[in-house]
Assembly symmetry: C2
């Protein structure tokens, strides 16, 4: 009997934003796996840390974290082999995922490698998208809004086209693309509608109008919400 690989969303940062289901699976899994930078702490593990009380076997999946860098396949191949050994021995493995596993998450690289051979279950988590909206003081989308999630590394023309079409947008992966995003929003006369949120649900959470944000770079954990109706509930 194979064990099951669970991809569990641990939420956006506040350890209290984990679901009961994710908590139950986390606390009963004999093996946990988590993504981490080449050296140092795993954010996903640090979010889950207050809940890990049972001394599981731990598998670190260490990957470069740069926004623009796509995954090194060897790292995931190796992680899948290691996880597969535990699954084949009948042990469940809980893979911890920041936010939600299937919303721009690296869990899919494990999923595609493990799912052909073992049961895989995804437990959804609170994504940065919902956490940011909650912190922003206004709805993400309503009624029949076309809502688009726009990665800031896209070319300026693609960002502009997406923002022109959507009623509401969440611009993610802002980082060093803040200047470009600001230009697009100014050109489209959407700048005054943009709400900037950093580190949603984390202790250092900060929300302000984009017009109050200086410089051309933003932290990794930042997002810009913009709604054409300004206050979406009007």
């Amino acid at each position: 009997m194979s064990g099951t690989l669970y991809g569990i969303g641990v939420g956006p940062g506040d350890p209290e934003l984990i679901t009961l289901k994710a908590l139950r699976i986390l606390q009963s899994a004999p093996v946990i796996a988590w993504p981490a930078p080449p050296e140092g702490e795993s954010l996903a593990r640090s979010i889950a840390a207050p809940h890990i009380t049972h001394d599981p076997v731990e598998i670190a999946i260490r990957m470069p974290l740069e926004i623009t860098q796509f995954p090194n396949r060897n790292v995931y191949d190796q992680a899948a082999v290691e996880i597969g050994k535990h699954l084949s021995a009948g042990q469940d493995v809980a893979a911890l995922c920041e936010g939600d596993p299937f919303f721009y998450g690296s869990f899919m690289y494990l999923y595609e490698r493990v799912a052909p051979n073992h049961p895989v279950v995804v437990v959804p988590g609170i994504s940065s998208l919902m956490a940011t909206a909650a912190a922003s003081g206004g709805p993400l989308s309503s009624r029949n809004d076309l809502l688009s999630v726009v990665p800031a590394p896209l070319p300026e023309a693609a960002i502009s086209a997406a923002l022109q079409q959507a009623d509401s947008a969440a611009i993610i992966k802002v980082g060093r693309h803040l200047g470009k995003v600001r230009n697009v929003l100014e050109t489209l006369a959407l700048f005054d509608n943009a709400r900037y949120v950093e580190h949603a649900t984390m202790p250092q959470e900060s929300m302000r109008p984009l017009s109050d944000v200086a410089g051309d770079t933003a932290p990794y954990f930042s997002m810009i919400l913009v709604h054409k109706r300004g206050e979406a509930w009007r």
Copy 2:
């Protein structure tokens, strides 16, 4: 001292998909409020029911549920007055929201009415978007995908334009618009990439390719995910 209005996401259906934070607030609130149809059960309350063990005062906000119908302002005006009385008396009120409060949620109608006079805190929840992706067997979005959430009541041309631009799309509020959506997907040669999910995380959850779905209507709790790369992780 005013009480606080908490908008708490109770998640998409499975009572275990509530967060620890939402649970804590729900179980300590002396007053809870929930949306419901004109007669009968509230879905949000039924999701939360296993967790309500403390006999709170309950405020029903009864609204027509038709997908195309926008809210009756009087109902929310009246609910805000009733909730405001408890807040002014120093009592916290937990408003239960299906999924996430700010993702196409009716909570915004309370928010706009109450926030000018009392503290309001939004506790994000697992949205139907993430629940559907988890059930669908593949990522919602990855890398630098442009992800769009497309309400099916939009005109066919708007749906088509959105799907042409996006890399990945979630088509929501399908209901009686299934035939129209199917036509658009066929015209754009995206039909074979479409995954249909009904009642994600509920006991009657069902996932299948859209090509296996007959008829021109779908349940309220259904969603279609479509990704241009087919399997998003490739």
